[in-house]
């Protein structure tokens, strides 16, 4: 199962390197969001410190939408040939999850410094904690996005439906990462560790449950 997952993952990475269909548009969009926030909120006049965690995470989530939705649409457009291959269905899900985690991590790695520079807010002192929050949050978002992407890829609307399904679904995750980041800035009485725990629970549930249910999706 792991071998098959790695092979599919490798296939998608190779495709992405050849075509650059996902990261380039999503990355440009992510940087544009930072620019537009700068225009809209004018960081030179108002301090954006209080809003920065929310702005950053919303930006990353929106840019990630462009990337995670494609993972399964690509297969749907290839008329589902991958799902005809004699491999474990869970492997397909894990491979797509791996791809989405990688994509969102790269996006966040580009966007976080860009947001910090353009909005003139320094990143939290506790770098290790911040990286942990980012990694856990993005894994959760990628897991939820992969599950919902698998569902929406088969619809008439494809990626158009994805935000409507994914946004309410990931709302606890958004609350978690924003609050945890605020905690790292020392803005909250409550510590970030509770929130990190909540994000971790979300991650575990939404990696395991879709793997178990993915079998059913591929039968029909």
């Amino acid at each position: 199962m792991i071998r098959a997952a790695v092979w599919i993952f490798w296939k998608d990475i190779t495709l992405e390197f050849r075509g650059r269909e996902l990261l380039l548009p999503a990355g440009v969009f992510g940087l544009l969001i930072a620019m537009l926030y700068g225009f809209a909120f004018d960081p030179t006049r108002n301090g954006l410190h209080g809003m920065f965690p929310g702005l950053l995470w919303l930006g990353i989530f929106f840019a990630s939408f462009l990337a995670v939705g494609r993972a399964f649409s690509v297969e749907a457009e290839a008329s589902g040939q991958l799902l005809l291959a004699p491999i474990d269905r869970g492997a397909v899900f894990l491979a797509k999850l791996g791809l989405n985690v990688l994509l969102t991590l790269v996006l966040a790695a580009v966007m976080t410094p860009a947001f910090s520079i353009l909005l003139q807010v320094s990143l939290p002192q506790d770098t290790g904690g911040f990286l942990l929050v980012e990694a856990l949050g993005l894994v959760g978002f990628a897991a939820a996005g992969t599950a919902m992407g698998a569902l929406s890829a088969q619809t008439r609307l494809r990626e158009l439906l994805l935000p409507a399904l994914l946004l309410p679904f990931t709302s606890p995750l958004l609350l978690g990462v924003v609050s945890a980041t605020e905690g790292l800035y020392g803005q909250q009485a409550a510590s970030s560790s509770n929130w990190v725990l909540l994000i971790a629970i979300f991650d575990v549930i939404y990696i395991i449950v879709p793997v178990l249910l993915f079998e059913f999706l591929t039968e029909v």
Binding site: T155, L157, A164, S171, A190, E219, V220
Partner: protein, 225 residues
Amino acid sequence: MRYLRWISLPLWITALYLALVWVPDERSLGVSYRIFYIHLGMAWTALLALSANFVVSLFVLFKRNRREQLDHYAQATAEVGLLMTTATLASGMLWAKVAWGAYWTWDPRLTTTAILWFLYAGYLLLREAIDQPQKRIVYSAVYGLIVFIDVPIVYLSVRWWSSIHPVVFTNTGINISPQMLVAVIFFFFATLFFGLDLITLRAKQQALRQQLERLREQRLGELGY
């Protein structure tokens, strides 16, 4: 099931009488707290309908030979649940205006209900958007399962979040007297039986539509199309 209607109708009339006339006014909120009865009845029935959707979705996945009939119930429970959630939100917002002075507060229950509404609106959107019947059945069942597990996480996160950001109203709370409890129970059973009636009605309608489609295809086949 027609008898459900004849149970829920007298229950509705009694419950309305109890809640609007029989029960005395509450001390701090006066008449306005009478919204509470219909609000609570709707909210509980909505939660039950959506829980039923979860159970039916499980059965859809594992009882392969009865998928189509079960799917009618999955759709019906989601629709009735969404209807009741909308009613909960509408009555809740009006009550919040009276009790707390604003239509919307970021109260954990209110916020969770709103997110619940979006999640199940998504369920119906997903159903609408899949053309192939078999696929629609399985995909919406999987969505129903995934989403229902999300609800406790949403509630937990919103509660933590709003405990950090203090809300600016004083929640006086209602001390429920025995009389009020009677009215609450009547209202709950009235909405429950009504909800069950609606669910069976909608499921039966779906079965009818399927029968019609089958017949139509068969006729077209006979006519050589």
